[in-house]
């Protein structure tokens, strides 16, 4: 399988504080990769580096086969990003948001038109084309935000706690979208605080104090830590290290 993220001995220091301590991992094409860890474990730092927003102190990393030191522009062109905090402009309509992000990623107007129609049809949101994002229910917003994040067919999409504060049904519907994207060959790199969501990932890495303490399929992790579920795995790792 093709590696879309390759990380070797990645270190990021802020002064004397080591936020990322020699990270090593690969993520494969079409994989749903769960990136877990306690608050302050260094997830956000690592994610910023992989998105080309921050340079590591040392080590190597390739995202979509581009070097994150030298080819940040190409990296950015080949990834999508969505977080709970920022996704779409609330004061623009659905169509205006799509037009804006298409412009950012250099999608031609003709392509955009076609893809936009398909997207709205697939999501069943055709009637909302000219509604302001701010007026839509949270569940719709999220679906749209995700669809816009992968509108330019990136190789990888980074999701930073995409389901925080969402009701259980909407949360699960959101995961349906993640599975669909993965079926289309888009790699999904996701952080979450819901441990049940960790189970939906193909593989999960758990960070603690800047290091990756565990990385495997949920199945194997549960065996390895003789735990009933991922919640227990997580607690065991976090408590052991402390």
């Amino acid at each position: 399988m093709e590696k879309v993220i390759e990380v070797r001995n990645l270190v990021k220091k802020f002064g004397s504080f080591v936020a990322n301590d020699h990270l090593n991992f690969d993520v494969y094409q079409g994989e749903i990769f769960g990136f877990l860890g306690a608050n302050g474990a260094g997830k956000t730092t690592a994610m910023k580096i992989l998105c080309g927003l921050s340079s590591p102190t040392s080590g190597e990393a390739k995202v979509a086969s581009f070097d994150i030191y030298k080819e940040t522009e190409k990296v950015k062109r080949n990834i999508g990003y969505m977080s709970q905090k920022f996704s779409l402009y609330e004061d623009l309509t659905v169509a205006e948001n799509i037009r804006f992000f298409s412009g950012v990623y250099g999608i031609s107007p003709a392509d955009r038109k076609e893809k936009q129609d398909k997207l709205l049809k697939d999501l069943g949101l055709e009637s909302a084309r000219d509604s302001l994002i701010g007026s839509l229910p949270l569940g719709w917003k999220q679906k749209l935000a995700f669809s816009v994040a992968i509108f330019h067919d990136p190789k990888i999409v980074f999701l930073d706690e995409p389901t925080g504060g969402v009701d259980p049904i909407t949360r699960r519907k959101f995961w349906d979208l993640i599975y669909e994207a993965s079926d289309r060959g888009i790699t999904v790199f996701v952080t979450t605080h819901y441990m049940d969501e960790a189970e939906y990932c193909n593989r999960v890495s758990i960070m603690n104090a800047g290091r990756i303490e565990a990385l495997d399929t949920p199945e194997n992790l549960k065996k390895q830590y003789s735990a009933k579920n991922m919640d227990e795995v997580f607690l065991k790792i976090a408590r052991n290290v402390d």
Partner: protein, 303 residues
Amino acid sequence: MISIQHISKSYKEVQAITDISLEVQKGELFGLIGPDGAGKTTLMRILMTLLIQDEGTATMNGFDIIKDYKKIRNMVGYMPGRFSLYQDLTVEENLNFFATVFKTTVSENYDLIRDIYIQIEPFKKRLAGKLSGGMKQKLALSCALIHKPEILILDEPTTGVDAVSRKEFWEMLKNLQQKGITILVSTPYMDEAMLCNRVALMQKGKVLDIDTPRNLVDGYTRKLYAIRSNDMHRLILDLRSYEKTDSAYAFGQYLHVTGKDDEVEATEFENYLMRKNHEDLEVHDIAPTIEDVFMELLQDTIV
């Protein structure tokens, strides 16, 4: 201890909460469970005398929330949803400030906060803005407790906090409850409902149900199956397209599935899925969780 009667509140056109009534007993740990937009924050702000309800009345420890707002502000500890301490003050400075605001001192009420504060004391000279999420929560809780409140109102204290810190936080709440403090806490995490004495399940400004978590789960009468195979995504799609499936949702490593009219047997699902070539198939009965209950209630409100 807290008595809420028929409270409604709207902002301009948006109806934030509609006709909410509930009672919290003295010494109880009561949870408001629901997603964003359920109206949890609005209800808490009304109780905290920060907003005025359009309709209804409420009392806390016998005091009316409108007439006696000054008494309530003296008596209740409050932790808003956002981290609301001064980021440019140190841990110690924040705590001292809130102590003086409530006309008390840290040493006077140290007993109550000791167990919590002791965990952040090594960092007392650090600016609050530089603390990790879990430590911020502990500091905020210490500040909310500094005046020995009889009632504690906590708005989503565990949102955005990792699983370990969440667990610790709930242990702290249990300890405070032992000390006789009445606690009203809100959370979007369904699993935390099990840690409360009683919960109100909320959605879109309405209370769907109020009971002990145990009773809520026991009240779930549908027949629930846990199903898994080695291709979960295909499994969920196949089950949803099966005419005998009522609902199929992912729950961790299993899918929780209900059949139409609860008359579908486990073997029927099994046979159907075998025909669809699922491997490592596993189908068995499972006891519902609070999340199943909540989702069932959501389905009812949507229909």
